[in-house]
């Protein structure tokens, strides 16, 4: 087994210890630079373009297998699906008729109130290229990027609800951070009560934090985006409340939720277009002058 195991007769290069020191310091610098200051984004962009053809090539056998599988679908399955779709369409068309009339009504009301309306525009359909193998980050890569006019911050939905947000755009691909990622927050509103709150991802799931223990929220409530952040348009279903704990002595309720969309399972996603510009924030109130003398005495004491 010990082939080509000849010892080194002359000392070439650095000693292992100094090599390790060098590599460790470089990687620590890279880690901090990447995570805290985002210094490596350019490099990542360039490398992602290089990797794109390889990703496509690796994806190809899987895609071909899926196509062949679709081709050999049985006729009964098709018929069943057709019937199911037809009945669903009937049910939906009735709802749609009601919705369009409601939409008109709402738009009139909004126009009366001179509010900005979010017209529903078509988004960009993206296919999930791969999910990052890194278990710490809940991110996926989709096959649309700068070439399709995507920009960081755009919301991403699937057919059921909100999936996440575009966080990094590369020339041909884009990175979507899922709502279950630890650093992801979504402003939501409880559809039943109209109470606004923030939905936090905690790495693998979502929960509502900082809701008073006495707040009116119960199992089964649907949380939809509130649309007041200027990013997500309002009314996209996000999560359903699965459990509410009100621990005695704690001032906040513990609200666990289940995301509506197939956050980790959907293959096709829609990237919604940016919203119309929000009205500018009112100018901040002038800060009251600080009592300077008191601070000086504190420093001395």
């Amino acid at each position: 087994m010990n082939f080509a195991n000849t010892p080194r007769f002359s000392n070439q290069g650095l000693r292992p210890g100094s090599q390790l020191l060098l590599c460790t310091l470089t990687s620590l610098a890279l880690l901090v630079g990447d995570s805290q200051f985002g210094l490596m984004d350019r490099t990542r962009d360039a490398l992602s373009v290089v990797l794109y053809p390889i990703q496509r090539a690796v994806n190809m056998p899987m895609a071909a297998a899926a196509h062949i599988g679709e081709f050999f679908i049985t006729q009964t399955a098709l018929k069943q699906e057709n019937a199911a779709l037809r009945s669903r369409e009937l049910a939906q068309s009735a709802r749609l008729a009601r919705l369009t009339s409601l939409e008109q009504e709402v738009q009139q009301l909004k126009a009366l109130n001179s509010l900005r309306t979010d017209s529903l525009r078509a988004g960009q359909l993206g296919e999930v290229l791969y999910t990052a193998r890194d278990p710490f980050s809940y991110k996926i890569i989709i096959d649309k990027g700068l070439d399709a006019g995507l920009a960081a911050g755009l919301p991403v939905v699937d057919e059921r609800g909100l999936v996440g947000q575009v966080t990094r755009v590369q020339p041909l691909t884009a990175e979507v951070t899922l709502i279950i990622d630890k650093n992801q927050m979504v402003p939501v509103v409880n559809q039943r009560t109209g109470q606004r709150s923030l939905l936090y991802g905690y790495g693998g799931g979502v929960e509502v934090r900082y809701l008073p223990a006495a707040a009116d929220i119960q199992q089964g409530d649907l949380l939809v985006t509130s649309g007041i952040d200027g990013l997500y348009s309002e009314g996209i279903p996000v999560a359903r409340v699965t459990r509410v704990d009100r621990p005695a002595g704690a001032s906040f309720a513990r609200v666990l939720c289940q995301s509506i969309a197939g956050v980790q399972s959907s293959r096709y996603m829609l990237v919604l277009p940016p919203r119309a510009a929000m009205p500018p924030r009112p100018a901040p109130a002038p800060q009251p002058a600080k009592p300077k003398k008191k601070k000086d005495t504190e420093d001395e004491g």
Partner: protein, 167 residues
């Protein structure tokens, strides 16, 4: 122990072959596998680095471990330097005891590999925790076990092209 095993004479390893194995392992990383499978699938690139560092220490050293780690960082979309840090530390540990490690039989090597792969995961977990990620659970330490179980098979496979087939 390997003393009682007949030592084989093998053909010299080509640099091309080493590159090819790493290319294949990286393609495994990029495969669109079902979501659950990444929880137990071993880190093939990490295994290969250990294999070549043990068996070809003059080709794959600490510097190469670092560079390959950077490539893995990009392809797995993790933080820059995360895999590079882990791989350079484990290749250093291999280098410290490399003469002993090649003399071990496959079972003993698998145990060492298990420890080193666990060290890999531990370093990466600590780096990510220090930079503010949430802990992903004890399942994160399952892949090294699979890697160690696959070690004998991997060794046999990688030796195949270098046996003299004279029948």
């Amino acid at each position: 122990m390997s003393y009682d095993r007949p030592q084989e004479l093998l053909k010299p390893v080509k640099r091309r072959f080493i590159t090819l194995t790493f290319a294949l392992a990286l393609m495994m990383e990029l495969l669109p596998l079902p979501v659950g499978s990444t929880r137990w699938l071993p880190d093939f690139v990490g295994l290969l680095i250990l294999y070549w560092a043990i068996n070809q220490p003059r080709r794959i050293g600490i510097g190469m471990g670092f560079l390959i780690g950077l490539v893995v960082d990009v392809s797995t979309n993790s933080l820059f330097g995360q895999h590079a840090l882990a791989y350079s530390v484990t290749t250093y540990l291999v280098m410290l005891r490399q003469r002993q490690l090649v003399m071990f039989n496959l079972g003993q090597q698998a145990l060492v590999v298990l420890t080193l792969m666990l060290a890999n995961q531990l370093i990466m977990a600590l780096a990510r925790l220090a930079l503010g990620s949430a802990f992903v659970g004890a399942g994160y330490f399952l892949p090294p076990l699979m890697g160690a179980l696959l070690w004998p098979l991997l060794t046999k496979l990688l030796l195949l092209p270098y046996r003299h087939h004279t029948l």
